[in-house]
């Protein structure tokens, strides 16, 4: 076989691989659409926000399909976690890069990497056994929106810190040298030169963290209490979209099952929105 024949076969195979992996996302969306079609057709989009409650087991006629409390819960938990984790994560990255003595900074970097690698189910276990009782001793019942926010904060802080750190690494060295030549103090260098220059990277870090918070299932499921309701305080139990899928998928049939695939679609839409925002603002790949 000549060179060009084998080469053509090789490139063809590689193209097939890339086509398969490249279209996987489309397949996922397609299957979600196909599986959720019965609910979309028989229940209709409007009832997912206008029904009075979430009681899907009665079928399309007698069931109630309001997803809104869970969308609110997901949004609140994510927003709360971002509120706490953004300063913590960026602060950690700033510490590791500009404030810590050399050895300590590297040690701290290792800790962040380890934290990022701990499985979510372990955070959930810890939250359930340690954190929720702690919250309960202050404001019962303990498994609540607050517990979910705290566990999510612990989970996304390392994500934000790692991406922020990578951004700091990629800044041109000349910025730091120029700041040093001007005799700027440490905070003037960080606050006046580094943070503004790293702005789009930091934004990406926050978006990546929020993506992780929206998609997190197990840890939230274990500490949030899982009552379907729109919370009026931090101490009420809530159920997020992801937790709802994990809890009900085991026994869901017919329209109920289709409704769960619908909430999968809602999750995908939220992630697509984040990627879109990142494209517009940073012109970069947020999951790259």
């Amino acid at each position: 076989m000549s060179h060009s024949r084998t080469d053509a076969v090789l490139v063809g195979t590689l193209r097939a691989c890339a086509l398969l992996t490249g279209t996987l996302v489309l397949f996922i969306v397609l299957f979600l659409l196909v599986e959720s079609a019965p609910a979309l057709r028989q229940v209709g989009v409007a009832r997912f926000v206008s029904d009075t409650a979430w009681r899907p087991s009665g079928g399309a006629q007698r069931g109630q399909f309001n997803l809104l409390p869970m969308i609110v819960a997901t949004t609140l938990a994510t927003a709360g976690a971002l509120f706490l984790a953004t300063p913590l994560g960026i602060g950690s990255a700033v510490f590791a890069h500009f404030y810590a003595p050399r050895g300590l900074g590297r040690l701290f970097g290792k800790i962040i990497e380890l934290l990022a690698g701990i499985p979510s189910v372990v955070y959930g276990l810890w939250g359930l056994v340690v954190l929720a009782p702690l919250v309960a001793s202050w404001q019962p019942p303990g498994t609540s929106l607050l517990s979910a926010i705290l566990v999510l904060t612990i989970m996304i802080t390392p994500t934000i810190a790692l991406v922020a750190g990578a951004t700091f690494d990629n800044l041109p060295r000349s910025y730091l040298q120029a700041a040093a030549a001007l005799g700027l103090s440490r905070w003037r260098t960080v606050g006046g030169v580094i943070l503004p220059a790293a702005r789009s990277g930091l934004f990406t870090a926050v978006l990546l963290g929020s993506g992780r918070a929206i998609g997190e299932t197990m840890a939230v499921l274990m500490v949030a209490g899982n009552v379907v309701q729109t919370p009026h305080s931090l101490f009420q139990p809530v159920r997020t979209l992801t937790a709802n899928i994990a809890l009900e998928m085991a026994y869901a049939m017919g329209d109920h099952r289709a409704a769960l695939f619908d909430s999968g679609l809602v999750l995908m839409a939220m992630i697509a929105l984040l990627v879109g925002i990142a494209e517009v603002l940073s012109k970069g790949r947020i999951y790259g």
Binding site: D7, I28, E113, W187, I245, A272
Partner: protein, 302 residues
């Protein structure tokens, strides 16, 4: 006259700076405190969680725990079959995702210009894939592998679902590996008249192996940590699996089940968590060692 003025203004400047010294240092002090306290909080939480897992888990771990079958819903006995199921799920996942991932990475880094439409399309969709929540992968796997392809709740379904999930990680690290191969290699091969196939197999692939290894280890880490995507694909059964078509419970699902559904299962949940963390730390250490040694680069684990 001029000289006198200069000296005077210098003195004035000096004076004002001395006067403002406390106030001008205030932001400096606040920033330093903020950075240190952020680091302290993060480290504190890390130590708290780790100490908790080790303290509760270390007592239950023994050779019998690692090899015996669970009894009484996991409150007694061990995690032997669960470790076997976990390894089988991982093996299926890697057997599917490594060829696909390496193939895609080679195409993206060697045979497609970054500006081409196809390359951009594949990259962008991989970016989105990396952000898809794991529970959505679970829904997809359940619909496609368990029901549509008729595999049922099985190790095969679980492994295939995970392979979709780890592809973006694998591809990114492998691409990095190919990128670190010097361009001279490609030029020399072309000058010698080597075919593209043999250039790839004899020259580029061996040189890019470290990147592939890093990707592999990161993928293993992600797959081991996953719970949500496995509950509805590989199932809950905690018996020793007889074949890949059997349902098998992974270590992370075991931890979840023990802590949520089994009263009094916390001790063994902690012990299983400790085992899982130790496996993950070991794989991560291998990844960063490989990356530092051969690639001279840091690759994000997030």
């Amino acid at each position: 006259m001029v000289k006198e003025k200069a000296v005077k203004s210098q003195a004035v400047q000096f004076k004002t700076s001395e006067k403002r010294s406390i106030w001008s240092h205030l932001p400096e002090i606040i920033a330093t405190c903020a950075a240190w306290s952020a680091a302290l909080v993060v480290t504190g939480v890390f130590v708290w969680i780790l100490a908790d897992v080790v303290r509760h888990g270390i007592g239950a771990i023994s050779w019998t725990f690692l090899t015996a079958a669970p009894r009484n819903a996991g409150r007694e006995g061990g995690i032997g079959p669960i470790i076997v199921s976990t390894i089988l799920i991982l093996a299926v996942c890697m057997a599917v995702s490594v060829p696909l991932g390496v193939g895609t990475a080679v195409l993206l880094s060697e045979y497609t210009s970054p500006a081409s439409r196809f390359g951009r399309f594949v990259r962008r969709s991989l970016d989105v894939l990396a952000g898809v929540p794991s529970i959505v992968f679970g829904l997809f796997g359940n619909a496609v592998f368990c029901i549509y392809l008729g595999l049922g709740f099985s190790i095969l379904s679980g492994g295939l679902t995970l392979s979709c999930m780890v592809l973006p990680i694998l591809i990114r690290a492998t691409e990095e590996g190919f990128r670190s191969v010097p361009n001279d290699y490609r030029m020399s091969a072309a000058a010698l008249g080597m075919s593209r196939t043999s250039t790839l197999l004899q020259l580029l692939l061996p040189a890019a192996v470290p990147g592939v290894i890093v990707g592999l280890v990161l993928g293993i880490g992600r797959a081991l940590a996953e719970t949500a995507a496995l509950i509805f694909t590989s199932g809950y059964v905690d018996r020793m699996p007889g074949s890949l078509a059997d349902s098998g419970r992974s270590l992370s699902v075991h931890i979840f089940d023990l802590s949520m559904n089994v009263a009094g299962g916390d001790r063994h949940a902690y012990a299983s968590a400790l085992v899982l963390i130790m496996i993950l730390v070991a794989t991560n250490a291998i990844a960063s060692w490989t990356a530092n040694r051969w690639l001279g680069k840091r690759i994000l684990t997030a």
